[in-house]
């Protein structure tokens, strides 16, 4: 009965350092992530108003879920959802979505606004939201994200419902010194144009 010995060694002694129940009760990353797809799109690439998760840095995903869970970030639905997952499960999902290739959303946009948005992006946003908002150093992916969602997000940032970090606040304030409020809309059209 070598397997019993091995079982004991693995479960009760070293290696896994988990009780049988704890190990078995954690679903796999793909099992967890699959449950998100009905709202956030297959593999985390959304085709509509709900944000894509695919390709977002794991840290951003984990930070967002924890903020939803604690109530620090307001939400319509995600505050209720995030409370359903352990930190371990959130980490698994974060890694899973970070590994998925985002399929940019197909949506209509205003070419002129997008052009203006690109200039603003290069000047104020590119440093953190690199590669035209495709490869973020911080935050989520902006390029190819739903413009409706981006509009909601920016409205929340500007009203103070959602807290901007120090760097973002500085850049947004700087942008508003030389540009009016329509610059936000231009940026959104630029990100929407990245398909």
């Amino acid at each position: 009965m070598g397997s019993i010995t091995l079982f004991k060694k693995m479960v009760f002694a070293g290696g896994l350092a988990l009780s049988g129940a704890a190990w078995a009760a954690t679903p796999s990353a793909v099992m967890l992530a699959n449950t998100c797809a009905a709202c956030h799109g297959t593999g985390g690439s959304s085709v509509a108003q709900i944000p894509s998760l695919a390709g977002a840095p794991a840290e951003y995903f984990v930070e967002s879920m924890k903020a939803f869970k604690s109530g620090a970030r307001k939400a319509t639905v995600m505050d209720r959802v995030a409370k359903g997952y352990s930190d371990e499960e959130i980490a698994l999902m974060g890694d899973y979505f970070a590994q998925q290739q985002q399929i940019p959303m197909k949506q209509s946009f205003d070419q002129a606004k997008a052009g203006q948005g690109k200039r603003l992006h290069d000047k104020f946003c590119e440093k953190c939201h690199e590669d035209g908002g495709r490869k973020p150093d911080q935050g989520g992916i902006l390029a190819g994200q739903s413009m409706t969602y981006l509009t909601f997000s920016m409205a929340d940032f500007l009203s103070g419902e959602r807290t901007m970090d120090k760097d973002m606040k500085k850049k947004v304030d700087e942008m508003f010194k030389s540009n009016d409020k329509s610059s936000v809309d231009a940026l959104i059209h630029f990100y929407g144009s990245q398909q």
């Binding site: 091995l6 799109g41 085709v47 108003q49």
Partner: protein, 432 residues
Amino acid sequence: MISRRNFIKLSGGAVAIGTLAGCAGGTSRSGAGGKVVVVGGGPGGATAAKYLRMADPSIEVTLIEANPRYYTCFMSNEVLGGDRTLDSITFGYDGLRRHGVRVVHDTVTQIDPASRKIMTQSGQTFAYDRAIVSPGIDFKWGAIEGHSAELAESTIPHAWKAGAQTVALHKQLLDMKNGGTVVIATPAGAFRCPPGPYERASLIAQYLKRHKPKSKVIIMDAGDKFAKQGLFMAGWKKHYGYGTDNSLIEWVSAAQGGKVEGVDGSAMTVQGAVDKIKADVINIIPPQKAGKIAFDAGLTDGDWCPVNKKTFESKKHAGIHVLGDASNSAGMPKSGYSANVQAKVCAMAVADLMAGREPGFPSYMNTCYSVVAEDHGISVSIVYTFDEAKNEIIGVKGAGGVTPADASAEALRREAHYAHGWFANITNDIFG
């Protein structure tokens, strides 16, 4: 979970490490091959077929569905209210074909669990290693006196399976006079889409408000409470004068005599426990049970199909999995989202079982949006886990729930947007 006994049974020496790693990982593994036949191309069956191919492309997946197109029940209330076309809730099966699913349009007449064969109306036979049966609902005709399938096809549409029935009910609303009465009768027992009748009342009221403001909707309810009740009623007060003399919506609970006992299609009356009501449009949503093939194949116990909730394998016949509305997954509502998620859990379990692996621990979720008015959405969202000892799907404690009662108008507006976003994503996830 793998019990210790099963673990020992499954494993031998060093193989045990491999088994454990498989459980913890759960992404693509070496192919199992073999044949799976999926019966039913609604949200449950179509998702299962697609995700099974995604989990293990070496498995041959055949989907048998009678109709070349599927009309989603979800968002069909917007078609009734005139805010959406039937086209926008119509889906074909080319997306599944692109995933390598063999799609056969035929009607399954028999499932033989002993020889593992499925027979169809056209005389074809399909052998399977495992079958996934997702037949949706069937109606219990005769529960209401005078009611019948024929009556539903002619004058009293149910519109609880979308398509021609949705069109028929919509047309009746268009033809109705200003000042008319619409009756919606809700079903007793477990039924598909628990908030659906109340969303339907809301969107018909919205149509009446815009076009026939002297009219009203009366909900004759077989129960005394309903899904998202407080949120619906608050929305009705805000948009439809609920609670005033001029309300576009009246709700008659079972305690107030709301349970419909009879219907007369010629006189256009419904008999409640207390009053007989004359109406211009009558929508009886009949009581429900699992789809016909589930009964024919001996998969039912009572109205629904008992299953192992970790794998959705039937408790009646090994090798057949039943999911979606037809299964008795009472912990989750009978919704499109539930069927979609159960199908993924089932597909992964089937891929594991085909390869001789112990299925991984499941995770489930359901979010149901309801549209109360154009810019007013509400939702219920629950994360579920599996209680192996009880074989139950249970909500994770301290999580989930409905839209807060004090949600701002802006939050409700966003929920309406997200309801539509959800619709686009889930239908793409199922059929795309």
